[in-house]
Symmetry: C2
Subunit: 160 residues, 2 copies
Amino acid sequence: MSAQRYVFNHSMLRVKDPDVSLDFYERVMGMKLMHRLDIEQGEFTLFFLVDAQLAEQAPPEGPERANWLFSQRGVLELTHNWGTENDPDFAYHDGNAQPQGFGHICISVPDLERAVVAFDEEGVSFVKRPEDGMMRNIAFIRDPDGYWIEILQADRMTVF
Amino acid sequence: MSAQRYVFNHSMLRVKDPDVSLDFYERVMGMKLMHRLDIEQGEFTLFFLVDAQLAEQAPPEGPERANWLFSQRGVLELTHNWGTENDPDFAYHDGNAQPQGFGHICISVPDLERAVVAFDEEGVSFVKRPEDGMMRNIAFIRDPDGYWIEILQADRMTVF
């Protein structure tokens, strides 16, 4: 059955200012930009990122990289509609305010406390610090557009 | 640097009726439910799915599976707030209608035409069939809540 070979490849989020978002996802979240695709006639640009460990396996730019990238799991696609970064009133909807739908993406980190220290050093905004609420093993931060990012440490997720 | 070991683990979508969504993601999209977590005090349930090939690598239920699951890429988390399935007027926001934000998830398939045939047999709703518009190598379908799912065949993505 063909569906047995389907792969959950990527999730796409629209971003207001790609310079700000790429800096955040690359420098703070440890991801690497694998490719950008400028669509002139649609006046938008797509950015495809993967985490640093996965990026090390990527073939050089070209058709081989495309085939590789779209066969992986855990790709983040950011879409920039040109010009939104110049409108001070422009903002995307995070999916957690009404109307609700999409909730968050999640980054698994090797050391939750160390990640929190790094986020604080970068002035990252928290929705929930680990010590807030009942779930002490996870945090939620906001990306530059306000999308929620869950932060967890896998070996502490003994919830099962 | 710690961020070099971060992993993009999952994306979370709220769903109205988990029976409908699980049937869709498991039977039509080839994913497997790895764990469900019922949160009584919050009156919601979390469902964690991965694609069939990844599911084959999963350890048995228990703390080892939790550690494994939250270390992977390409996990889909579905959140069900209890009771929404009984409200005929209840619907989640797909992020593509206004107000915009989240765009879509994407499933990479080994054979686009074969996937389209399977979707048609299941009565899946299309946002864009491969032959519509300029991008002939991709399709967009709707999941049961209306979230968009891009369908692509990796070795045809010679867009770079």
